[in-house]
């Protein structure tokens, strides 16, 4: 069984094809995944984490709180679109979360923000994501107007090819120019502190076992 498992791991590693994450770490992640799976309210129903469970993980372990963004992150993790996060998807996603290069992160964020998956971030998508981001303005100005204004400005800034929407190439260029734009429309990557917390919990805890 052990040999089989090791083989399986190797396979997995090949599929994931990430240098940043080691074999033992993958092992740990799989263990953790199994633990999480067992905690799921309806275990055994499907071979993976469901949306609700995934969202609570994002909230508890990675400090994300925006519902729209969390759903989008789930969608991005769920590459085979079966509404469950499989082991493979889990590890692929986490490798970006924990050890992702700037390229990987740009791609990841772009996918999160491109909610309809048409490979463009449109004005409407931006507006949807930023809808509640302007809390109040003095003099009872309509916050929505402000958001619209900002969307216009941002779109103008990112749309290098002037086609009225942001392609991956546009996004890539904009982020490389100004790193802060990576998570421009919502936090979809964990911050340093929660990464450290997660790694500590999963890797070291597992290694001790």
């Amino acid at each position: 069984f052990k040999a089989l498992f090791s083989n399986y791991l190797d396979n997995l590693k090949n599929i994931i094809n990430s240098k940043a994450i080691s074999k033992t770490e993958i092992e740990c992640l799989i263990c953790d995944f199994n633990v999480l799976l067992r905690e799921q309210i309806n275990p055994g129903k499907a071979n993976g984490l469901d949306r609700q469970n995934f969202r609570s993980i994002l909230y508890n372990k990675f400090g994300m709180s925006d519902a729209i963004i969390m759903d989008a992150v789930f969608r991005t993790f769920d590459t085979d679109v079966d509404s469950f996060i499989s082991v493979k998807e889990w590890i692929e996603g986490l490798s970006v979360f924990l050890r992702g290069t700037l390229d990987e992160k740009i791609k990841f964020c772009f996918q999160v923000y491109d909610s309809n998956g048409d490979n463009y971030i449109t004005k409407e998508e931006m507006f949807h994501m930023l809808r509640n981001s302007l809390i109040q303005l003095p003099n009872d100005e309509d916050p929505e107007e402000g958001v619209k204004d900002m969307v216009e400005i941002t779109l103008k800034r990112m749309d290098y090819d002037h086609d009225g929407k942001v392609s991956l190439a546009d996004f890539d260029k904009a982020v490389r120019e100004e790193n802060l734009l990576l998570e421009a429309f919502g936090t979809c990557l964990p911050d340093r502190k929660s990464i450290r917390g997660f790694e500590q919990q999963v890797f070291q805890h597992q290694l001790e076992k």
């Binding site: 981001s133 302007l134 402000g146 802060l180």
Partner: protein, 1026 residues
């Protein structure tokens, strides 16, 4: 006199008719003037003095009958003057306690009789005669005097009407005299009044506020408490009841000082004074002071002491005060957007106030775009400024946290940024579109969540933030507060964005100052040790830009920034091959060094860096192969090398080797910092040797070819100068033909280069062959030309170089031709002691080597007198150099005679008590030479110069012995001196000196002993044979 008395004199406000003159300085002045007028009256205007008053002046006097002498008929206590008027009434009548006087001559005599009570008499007279003029001239005249009618013809007409007076002429003259006095008194008083400060309610209020803040506990507190007697404030700012406001009173205070009893104080427009402290009794019981602080200073010693401690705070004044005048864009006629604008401004205002409650006065009037200010106008600004000065005295204590830190910052801050006058568009119609855009964005930042804020910050970054209009726009719409507030949040991305913007806009002096004033620098310092690498680097970089003026540097230090920054330097030990991660660390270290570089311009920060262990870390970074890293590192080191401790550390940590290596790079800036680091460190001999050892000298000489870069040239020549203090180095420099290059640099260079070049030439000229080289390269002429300069550092070096050159006979001929001696001589008049002594030293070889030196010296008009007068200097170096010069001059008998005439002997004798060996040596030499004229030997003896000279033989310095022995030999030619010497036990040390190897010394010592011995023999003979 009438007008003065009725309007200017300060009468007590008692209700009865008998007013009293108050005891104020102004009344005092008034009385004195009147007194001197009366005193001199009868001598200056004898005729008018006889004029009989219309009515007698009557007052209660302290005089008694016994005070009166001749010219008076004394019977019991009643005194009558012998002088009588036409009707036979005495002109003076004393019936105690009253006295009646009817003419100025009597008045004058009376005043002379009263001796020390003159003022009291005048005071009593004026108090009892509220209208003296009426009594003197009669009511009609007085009315004329009271009125402003200057028409004299009318006056005559009036006088003629009163024909019964025969002495009309006198009367008119008297009248004019009195009028004149009146005018003069008014002018004097006006002058006095104009010097007094008139207080206003706002000023008093501010002063009280600031004093309130300094109450409380703790040792440095100024007062226990300060309170108004009334809580109600009238709309005009006064607290005194309206019927007292009429008298100019503003409010009443009860102050408890720490060390004396409770003070009850009245503040009035005329000043501040103590009152009786009872209900409704505000009468003045003390002198009047111009403000509360000065009153408290005189009443409470502890207050005076504590406030003096903080006086240094005033130094800050100019810079801060100036900012106030930064008038912001007027929003007054902006129409539509103005409403929101103002409201938002109010918010910001609130925030700012919360942030710096201590900073109230300062924060209030700065940075905000204040349309309100316009309404208040200049007047308000003015009075605020007035109070601001006194407020500043307290700014330190009121802040509470940091008691008294001395404000002296490093003297190396010559490149201190200067306050730039703000350029502003003339009217708001010129406001650029960016302004409105930025204003909108700042509003978004306030209202948006983290995502929105980051997006807005990114948008803001797209503006040209290096442009002044954008920078000021951000400040004026309250953006700085917002950005600084973001620094205190937990949002990493917001902090990054904020810092990125702050870093850029800090290129403006005004923004830098504003950030510091708002406490933004503290927040930035806090971020330096955060966990996010990007934040650390950005924070350090921003500090590097902001900390370009003393207050900012102080802030960094006071909030522990230096320690944190030094910690950033501690990255990888091997800087050659770096991983990606290590590169990040190195980048942080680089930013840290940049920040330290900016901070290191303050002396205290240099200390702080050293104490935080920064020196070895800098030494490690010095091995980095990257110029971008080396520039700040070397920059910091060279800045700090002004401190002895750093110079030692740089040498012992082996940094000289690295510095020399870096000197070989091809980056001008880097080379410049390197060279100036060596410049500063090469004061130390070992360092100079190390520079030579690591082959740095050649590199330094090669830098001289970059003559276009003046900063580099100044640093390189400086390093060469200091290195050339070691003769081995000079020899080495000779191999690279450095001197030829240097001589070429003697013309057409800025002063900072010239100082160093000339310094180096002076050192090079210590070697004989170099003197010839300087002549051959035509260096003498430019050197002599430089003697006419004004830069003192340069003059010191030039005179030194000229002096060194003058030791060569051929050079001396040229110097003489160029009239160099006269130029050097005239530098003795320079106010700087360094220049004086350096010039005097240079004169020695000049006089020694010039042809016809005696004639040359005599030809300098007033030259010898100048020299002799410099013997009154208090600077030992000047004295020593002048003594040496005198010794040279005195070799010429004629000049010695002139010196003697100018009184050189007593001046030299007066100096003999010195303990400075250097001075002793040259002084003894001068005395020895001055003995050669006339009776000078004896004069030195009489002036008591001999005994101290004998003591010089106990000195450890052998050169002192030599010149002293010579001087003693000369002095011993006078028998009386021999006796003194013998008494002081001169023989024993002289015999010891006779054993010296030096022939001259032997001879002098032996000669002296011989003279003493001869005297003794002669004495014996006399005793034996006569």
């Amino acid at each position: 006199m009438g007008i003065t008395l009725s309007r200017a004199a300060q009468w007590t406000t008692a209700s009865s008719n008998i007013g009293k003159l108050e005891f104020t300085p102004m009344n005092e002045l008034l009385l004195k003037e009147i007194l001197s007028f009366v005193e001199e009256f009868s001598s200056q205007h004898p005729q008018q003095a006889e004029h009989v008053f219309k009515e007698p002046l009557q007052w209660t006097t302290t005089l008694v009958a016994s005070d009166f002498k001749t010219d008076y008929d004394i019977s019991d206590s009643v005194v009558q003057s012998q002088e009588k008027d036409s009707e036979g009434h005495p002109l003076l009548l004393l019936s105690p306690p009253n006295v009646y006087v009817r003419s100025f001559s009597q008045l004058c005599k009376l005043v002379h009789l009263t001796n020390d009570k003159k003022l009291e008499e005048v005071r009593a007279c004026l108090e009892d005669n509220r209208n003296p003029v009426v009594k003197v001239l009669g009511p009609s005249f007085a009315a004329e005097l009271e009125g402003d009618n200057q028409d004299e013809t009318r006056l005559f007409a009036k006088v003629k009407e009163e024909e019964e007076h025969k002495d009309t002429d006198d009367k008119v003259k008297l009248f004019l005299l009195l009028q004149n006095l009146d005018k003069q008194l008014l002018i004097k008083l006006l002058h006095e009044i104009s010097q007094q400060v008139e207080l206003n309610p706002a000023a008093v209020k501010n002063e009280v506020e600031m004093l309130k803040r300094s109450c409380g506990n703790g040792e440095s507190r100024l007062l226990k408490s300060i309170q108004y007697t009334s809580d109600y404030e009238f709309s005009n700012g006064c607290r005194a009841p309206p019927w007292r406001q009429v008298h100019g009173e503003i409010c009443y205070l009860v102050i408890e000082p720490c060390d004396s009893e409770t003070l009850y104080i009245t503040c009035s427009t005329a000043g501040v004074f103590l009152n009786r402290g009872e209900e409704n009794d505000y009468e003045r019981t003390s002198d009047t002071y111009e403000d509360l602080v000065s009153l408290l200073k005189s009443k409470s010693p502890q207050f005076a002491k504590n406030i003096n401690k903080q006086d240094c705070a005033v130094q800050e004044l100019p810079s801060t005060q100036k900012i106030q005048h930064v008038e912001s864009v007027d929003a007054e006629e902006q129409g539509q957007p103005q409403r929101s604008y103002e409201q938002q401004e109010k918010n910001v205002h609130e925030k700012a106030r919360q942030q710096h409650t201590a900073n109230k006065a300062g924060g209030k009037m700065k940075y905000e775009p204040c349309p309100r200010w316009k309404d208040l106008g200049l007047k308000c600004l003015h009075s605020e400024v007035h109070c601001f000065c006194s407020w500043l005295l307290f700014s330190k204590t009121s802040a509470g946290a940091l008691p008294v830190e001395v404000f002296s910052e490093s003297s190396t801050e010559s490149e201190e940024e200067e306050e730039q006058p703000e350029r502003r568009p003339e009217s708001n119609t010129d406001l650029p579109s960016e302004y409105w855009h930025i204003q909108k964005l700042v509003k978004y930042i306030k209202g948006g969540d983290q995502r929105f804020t980051v997006l807005t910050l990114c948008t803001l970054m797209d503006f040209n933030l290096m442009q002044e209009t954008c920078q000021l726009a951000i400040r004026d719409v309250g953006g700085l507060e917002v950005l600084i507030n973001l620094l205190d949040t937990n949002e990493v991305k917001c902090k990054i964005g904020s810092l990125k913007i702050l870093r850029k806009i800090s290129s403006s002096v005004q923004i830098r100052r504003a950030i510091v004033e708002m406490g933004g620098l503290q927040s930035i310092v806090k971020i330096v040790d955060s966990e996010e690498e990007e934040l650390m680097a950005l924070a350090a970089e921003t500090i590097a830009i902001v900390a370009r003026f003393p207050k900012a540097r102080r802030t960094v230090r006071q909030y522990g920034g230096i320690k944190k920054l030094v910690k950033l330097l501690d990255c990888v030990s091997n800087l050659a091959n770096l991983s990606v991660r290590q590169e990040k660390d190195v980048e942080i270290a680089r930013c840290g060094t940049l920040a330290l570089w900016s901070c290191s311009k303050s002396t205290r920060n240099k200390d702080a860096i050293r104490k935080a262990g920064g020196i070895p870390l800098l030494g490690r970074l010095l091995k980095s192969p990257h110029e971008s890293m080396l520039i700040p590192v070397v920059g910091t080191l060279q800045e700090c090398a002004s401190e002895e401790s750093y110079r030692i550390a740089i040498q012992t940590e082996g940094m000289i080797k690295d510095l020399v290596k870096i000197l070989g790079s091809d980056n001008d800036e880097l080379q410049m910092h390197c060279a100036s680091a060596i410049f500063k460190c090469a004061e130390d001999k070992q360092t100079r040797d190390l520079v030579r050892e690591y082959k740095g000298l050649q590199l330094l000489v090669s830098l001289l070819s970059k003559a276009d870069n003046k900063h580099l040239l100044a640093a390189a020549t400086g390093a060469i100068w200091k290195c050339s203090i070691s003769m081995e180095n000079v020899a080495k420099f000779g191999e690279y033909n450095a001197l030829e290059v240097l001589v070429n640099l003697l013309t057409d260079q800025p002063e900072e280069v010239l100082v160093n070049v000339v310094g180096a030439v002076g050192e090079f000229a210590q070697i004989p062959e170099n003197k010839a080289t300087i002549r051959r390269c035509g260096g003498i002429k430019p050197l002599v030309n430089l003697l006419t300069g004004t830069n003192q550092a340069l003059l010191v070096n030039v005179t030194k170089a000229v002096g060194a050159c003058a030791t060569d006979m051929d050079n001396m001929v040229i110097i003489d031709q160029l009239d160099g001696v006269r130029l050097v001589w005239s530098l003795l008049k320079n106010p700087s002691a360094d220049v004086q002594s350096s010039a005097a030293w240079a004169l020695c070889p000049c006089i020694n080597n010039a042809k016809d030196a005696g004639e040359m010296v005599r030809s300098l008009v007033g030259g010898l007198e100048l020299i002799v007068n410099l013997l009154k200097s208090t600077n030992n170096e000047v004295l020593a150099s002048i003594c040496a010069t005198i010794a040279k001059i005195a070799k010429d008998k004629e000049n010695l005679a002139v010196l003697t005439d100018h009184g050189v002997v007593p001046l030299l004798a007066k100096l003999t008590n010195t303990t400075d060996d250097r001075l002793r040596r040259h002084l003894a030499e001068a005395i020895g030479h001055c003995c050669m004229w006339g009776s000078n030997k004896a004069l030195f003896g009489e002036a008591g110069a001999v005994a101290p000279l004998v003591c010089y033989l106990k000195s450890k310095d052998s050169s002192v012995h030599q010149s002293t022995a010579m001087a003693l030999y000369q002095l011993s030619k006078d028998p009386n001196n021999c006796i003194t010497m013998h008494e002081k036990g001169v023989v024993k040390p002289l015999i010891h000196i006779m054993g010296s190897d030096e022939e001259m010394l032997q001879e002098a010592a032996a000669g002296c002993v011989r003279n003493i011995r001869l005297l003794a023999l002669a004495n014996r003979k006399v005793q034996l044979f006569y």
